[in-house]
């Protein structure tokens, strides 16, 4: 098969299994793509340690690259530095909002002992449906590890919010 697209271009088209409106690159999960003499090495990082989508991501990357003519592909897991929601690109944030999922704010700074927070942090999270900032957190744990559940007090709709980590 004749290869016309670079491996990086191909890898950047692969979408997230659980947020299919976003690419792995939008999410900041795709860390690096290198191509030497036809051998492609792709590095990805999990959003959360137990993310069950990692195997599917690896599989999807291999297949996308194979279909584009790259037959020698290695997928590497990178744990450090740990994924941060700050790595979600501007494009990724726009796509999340369009899909009704509130994008994350800035991740908390990490230095020194982790402080205990007994009250849910007061974040200004806009409702992705009506735009009101009169929203409240229902649960810090949502349908996937990376999302929290919120509710809008203005339009009364529940929605998901990508957590800041």
């Amino acid at each position: 098969m004749v290869t016309t697209r670079t491996a990086r271009d191909v890898a950047k088209t692969v979408t997230d299994p659980e947020l299919p409106m976003l690419t792995l690159a939008d999410l900041g999960v795709l860390r690096e793509v290198s191509e030497v003499d036809g051998r492609v090495v792709v590095s990805i990082t999990p959003t959360y340690t137990g993310c069950p989508a990692m195997d599917t991501m690896r599989d999807d990357l291999v297949h996308a690259l194979e279909n584009a003519g790259y037959l020698d592909v290695e997928i590497r897991t990178v744990l450090r530095p740990a994924w941060s929601s700050d790595w979600i690109t501007a494009d990724g944030r726009r796509k999340l909002a369009e899909a009704g999922i509130a994008p994350p704010g800035a991740a908390p700074p990490r230095s020194g002992p982790v402080p205990l927070t007994l009250a849910p942090p007061a974040r200004l999270v806009g409702c992705p449906r009506c735009g009101s900032v009169e929203t409240e957190q229902v649960s810090e744990f949502g349908p996937t590890a990376c999302k929290a559940l919120r509710r809008c007090r203005a339009c009364h709709e529940p929605f998901e919010h990508v957590k800041e980590i």
């Binding site: 599989d59 897991t77 530095p81 740990a82 205990l116 007994l118």
Partner: protein, 289 residues
């Protein structure tokens, strides 16, 4: 491509139409440099990874038992999420053990094929599920202790273990906050909720001392758990004050001749837990799922 049955098709590693099953990617550390750093004894490092991995695996199993049993849907989802995070940590740590001790054993080999006396988890993790008050008590103690350990472990001599710990810190922060908020709500709540929170703490407190009793392996290659006691006490004091609770005054549950979970000596609950955890893998050796 044809198969004799649907399960065979799901397990086929060369069919790209399937979803998560049988992707052929079984190593959660794939592509990482897993060589043992110079000056570190591989088997000792592996033993340490098993201790931390077993804590996560067994605690995760107990949390999974809350699926369909939690008081509210939101909390059921939260408990399942915490269990999933810990299962992810267990997978990495057990896989790390297999690379470090040179046996090449997989996470599944460790989780499903070891007998009880080879499990190295602290006994706190294996205690019977109990009620919601006990769950919050266990989760508060476990996540406060583990977060303090992992913050220090991020600087481990083993870069793989350090990376696992650094990642785990972000997750454990959420777990600790979840448990702490519930402890305050229950402790400073109604007479009934306070009684259940109090009873939950009383029931598990005999197993707290064990968390801070150093095992030789921990001291040699990891974080000495005795060194995180002050931070643990400080964090719990921050929770107990608004919860209007005090630490229970109960005697520690001693092990057998001083040997406890880290030595493979467990409570009666552990056998039943493993029977359920391992039954499918033992009934169908070599099965893929």
């Amino acid at each position: 491509m044809s198969f004799d049955n649907a399960y065979e098709a799901l397990a086929d590693a060369h069919d790209d139409s399937r979803w998560a099953f049988g992707t052929g990617f079984e190593d959660p550390l794939s592509g990482m440099d897993t060589s043992v750093p110079p000056g570190v004894d591989g088997p000792t490092l592996a033993q340490y990874c098993l201790m931390l991995g077993d804590d996560a695996l067994i605690m995760s199993h107990r949390l999974q038992e809350w699926c369909t049993n939690a008081p509210e849907l939101e909390d059921e989802v939260a408990i399942a999420n915490i269990g999933l995070d810990l299962l992810g940590q267990a997978r990495l740590l057990l896989a790390r053990a297999g690379k470090a001790d040179g046996t090449g054993r997989s996470e599944d080999d460790y989780a499903f094929l070891r007998p009880e006396h080879e499990f190295r988890n602290v006994r706190l993790a294996e205690l019977e599920r109990g009620d919601f008050g006990q769950l919050i008590a266990v989760l508060l103690v476990f996540s406060t202790w583990r977060l303090a350990l992992f913050q220090r472990l991020a600087a481990s001599v083993d870069p793989v273990l350090g990376a696992i710990a650094e990642k785990g810190v972000k997750e454990l922060t959420y777990h600790r906050d979840y448990a702490a908020r519930w402890a305050v709500r229950l402790g400073d709540g109604t007479a009934r909720s306070r009684e259940r929170m109090r009873a939950g703490l009383d029931g598990i407190w005999p197993y707290v001392e064990e968390l801070f009793t150093p095992h030789e392996i921990e001291v040699r290659v990891g974080v000495d758990p005795a060194s995180v006691r002050a931070e643990f006490d400080d964090v719990l004091a921050q929770v107990f004050a608004p919860a209007t609770l005090t630490p229970p005054e109960v005697a520690p549950r001693v092990g057998v001749a001083g040997r406890t979970g880290r030595d493979g000596v467990h409570t009666e609950a552990m056998g039943y837990l493993l029977a359920e955890l391992q039954s499918v893998a033992r009934a169908l050796p070599g099965a893929t799922w």
